[in-house]
Symmetry: C2
Subunit: 156 residues, 2 copies
DNA sequence: CGGTTTGTTCGGTCAATACCGAACACTACG
DNA sequence: CGTAGTGTTCGGTATTGACCGAACAAACCG
């Protein structure tokens, strides 16, 4: 892997680390987006990323669990291959949607705690709930529109 | 602080820890959303959260820097007060918007690396770029619509 | 049934960092 | 100027967790 690609992969690592995944998981995603061919075995990844088998192994499992990458089993071959999921971005977008719902629920919970308090006290939490509720309703519509555009553009 | 509120505050700590802030910062935000009065001094926070002055101090500074809370200086008083920003949720939403732009830029960067490669190789990154571009364009519109709703509801 | 290739699990190490207590700085007022 | 009251900075501690190497397991071949 040349220096520029290594940099690209490292940037991915840093980005995904900032979003809650591990750096290694981010690196794998980055690499799977630029590698040739697009599917890679564990051995390929060990070599390309210069990481240990064990680190790659656990990172791969996590990413598969999150549906961010797909495991490709070739019949007759011992090796498994991995590739970036075609819907990985909508997946992670949905995960963010879920965070909005968490926030809305937190606000609801707080409002029950302040049930006896005057309106002015409760306003902070009502604002929080309503905003996250609004966004949680709008996000799926955005996804639908994106699917539409994707089809128009001839992806998939 | 009673047990239920402590739980609420702790939930906030965990939530914000999962988004990249520290647990203490999350606890402060949680507390500032349910406390009475809505503005609190450092001493109030030290007592309410049972944390050290130093931890509170650095957490407050971070939150102020991020515009998630506001510092209220009362003339004639030595103490500073802090309260949850009225626009804290739009602030953090904008921060997420910025993450989309980062992703789009990462994709662009990758595409320059694959400039010589055939279309099929580049497709993964084009999809990534286009989706994040789409969302980065739509998010501000969502915020505008939310502002509208907020005004109708009589917040602000 | 050995032996080779592939993948997982485990123990240990190292780095990062959240938090604390204490020392230090600043401010306002007597 | 001195003294409370208020806020920041610093060193140390303890926890967390990402990563590695090696041992282990499992699958497939001769």
């Amino acid at each position: 892997m040349d220096e520029l690609k290594r940099q690209f992969v490292e940037d991915f690592g840093l980005y995904f680390e900032s979003t809650g995944l591990t750096r290694m998981e981010g690196r794998i995603i980055g690499w799977l987006l630029i590698c040739d061919p697009p599917h890679q075995s564990m051995g390929d990844l060990v070599e390309a990323l210069g990481a240990s088998k064990s680190s790659i192994s656990v990172a791969l499992r996590t990413l598969v669990t999150l549906y961010l990458i797909e495991q490709v089993r070739v019949p007759g071959e011992r090796r498994d291959y991995y590739r970036a999921s075609s819907d990985m971005w909508t997946r992670s977008f949905r995960a963010r949607m879920h965070q909005l719902i968490e926030l809305r629920d937190l606000a609801e919970h707080g409002l029950t705690l302040l049930a006896e308090m005057p309106k002015a006290q409760r306003k902070r939490l009502e604002l929080m709930r309503d905003m996250n509720d609004f966004l949680a309703q709008e996000f799926p519509k955005l996804l639908d529109r994106w699917d539409e555009i994707k089809r128009e553009k001839g992806y998939d």
